[in-house]
């Protein structure tokens, strides 16, 4: 059973809709009894970093997530802000993140790149192609020209390249997906990326 964590931060229903389309049962919940029994967790998130951590704390989810992902070594997938919260901290706020994967979240900065690309707007919003950095079950069998929907101003800067699962270019290359063991995070919105996102979510719920 997959549980989509409900901490009042984001589009939980769209994730559930897509999982339903795949034929996977998913429950939207913040109930500890349900989370304890989850095979997989999805941590969604639309909003600001500090607000996200505050909400997780308010619903006592921080400990729950750590038990699931670290103690039980069960899979978790963070999406968008949910991915950013897997890191240590963010330039967007002051609160400490979940620190499950060694990365900091930083803001796009185009000061040091050539003039032609300086017209790039923040947030990075729209569809973009991604590349897999290495082979992994999450990204197995995806379209060669896979593309996803992004809306973000910040991205993960990994300490180690081995945690950077996918990359995307916006002005420069940035990490579009992170991974450590069975802890995954994607900066884009698979639940809003047609068949491309559907395949990735299918990999997560059926194969990870």
């Amino acid at each position: 059973m997959t549980v989509i964590l409900d901490y009042d931060m984001g589009n939980v229903c769209s994730i559930q809709n897509m999982l339903k389309k795949i034929g996977e049962k998913a429950i939207i919940s913040r109930n500890p009894d349900i989370i304890t029994n989850a095979d997989k967790l999805i941590l969604p998130g639309v909003g600001s970093y500090d607000m996200g951590m505050e909400q997780l704390k308010q619903f006592n989810l921080i400990e729950q997530i750590k038990i699931h992902a670290i103690d039980k070594q069960k899979p978790i997938l963070g999406i968008c802000l949910g991915m950013q919260l897997l890191g240590r901290r963010s330039e967007e706020g002051n609160k400490q993140g979940l620190s499950l994967i060694p990365f900091d979240v930083v803001k796009f900065n185009f000061d040091c790149i050539n003039v032609e690309e300086k017209g790039l707007k923040i947030p990075h919003m729209g569809w973009d192609y991604t590349q897999n950095t290495f082979d992994d079950v999450l990204t197995d069998n995806l379209d060669e020209r896979q593309r996803y929907y992004f809306v973000h101003s910040y991205y993960a800067m990994c300490d180690d390249t081995e945690n950077s699962l996918m990359s995307c270019k916006y002005g420069y290359l940035f990490t579009a997906a992170v991974k450590k063991g069975r802890i995954y995070g994607v900066q884009f919105h698979p639940e809003k990326s047609h068949n491309f996102g559907m395949k990735l979510l299918q990999n997560f719920v059926q194969r990870v």
Binding site: V46, Y149, H189, S193, H194
Partner: protein, 262 residues
């Protein structure tokens, strides 16, 4: 030019019907909204924007039940506008699976709402829609409440105010060009795109890929939205949902091929 600009079909809803207007008036029945969303979904469109054009005029709140049904069929980014007046409604809309809210009337009557929404969900989720009418002397002015109430703001003033309040995107709509399929008001779009640093989505007047391309290059828009172009077909404007394919867009040079400098 952004290498893969968004093309956004704009779906106008009135009493659970999909309609299309001309100059914000004379709504013509097009079909069933949910069925249309399914078709757009099948065609893999970049994004959909659903606007209820009668909610604010008739002082009605969003039709949440129906919005939820629509969201259930949309596996692409989705935004909603129409009749939004408070933050609780906005939270509800995000929760249902919409990425963005589009605010027009409340932007003028209750500007603090933009700020509140941006603080709750981040700027990227808050879109202010700026509807502009050009009078016979060529003077441009912003209108609220589906183009029925004239405001005091000039387009650039409204755009800068929206950005200051925390909006993360603007939809700039030319009322004069709506449904006319005569091309975008390039001058209007460019003046705003150059004045603000947030993305501008152009709307009003698109007929074909050439128009879309022009507003993105000459008009400096970040994305191109259109209504008629996606629901009408042929000279007689028969109702047929059509969307340019990925290959058409690459062949026409609309999408810059990866790695090319064009």
């Amino acid at each position: 030019m952004y290498h893969r600009p968004r093309i956004i079909p704009l779906l106008l809803i009135s009493n659970r019907d999909l309609v299309k207007t001309i100059k914000f008036a004379n709504p013509r029945y097009i079909g069933d909204p949910i069925n249309s969303v399914k078709i757009f979904n099948g065609k893999g469109v970049d994004e959909l924007c659903v606007l209820n054009i009668t909610a604010s005029k008739e002082n009605r709140t969003p039709d949440f039940e129906y919005l939820k049904d629509i969201a259930g069929e949309a596996f692409m980014p989705l935004s909603y506008g129409g009749g939004i007046t408070d933050i609780e409604q906005i939270k509800k809309i995000f929760h249902m699976g919409y990425e963005k809210v589009v605010i027009n009337t409340a932007f003028y009557s209750k500007p603090k709402l933009i700020n509140e929404a941006a603080r709750y969900a981040g700027s990227q989720s808050v879109v202010v829609s700026i509807d502009v009418k050009t009078d016979i002397f060529g003077k441009k002015r912003c209108f609220s409440t589906d183009g029925t109430i004239k405001t005091k703001l000039l387009p650039i003033e409204a755009a800068l105010l929206a950005e200051t309040l925390g909006a993360g995107e603007l939809i700039v709509n030319s009322v004069n060009n709506d449904g006319a399929m005569c091309g975008y008001d390039i001058e209007l779009i460019r003046s705003i795109a150059e004045a603000v640093s947030i993305p501008v989505t152009a709307c009003g007047g698109a007929k074909d890929i050439t128009d879309l391309k022009k507003v993105l290059t000459e008009g400096k828009a970040h994305a191109a939205a259109a209504g008629s172009m996606f629901v009408y077909y042929g000279r007689e404007n028969a109702v047929l949902i059509t969307v340019p394919s990925e290959n058409d867009l690459i062949d026409s040079g609309f999408y810059r091929r990866e790695g090319s400098q064009q």
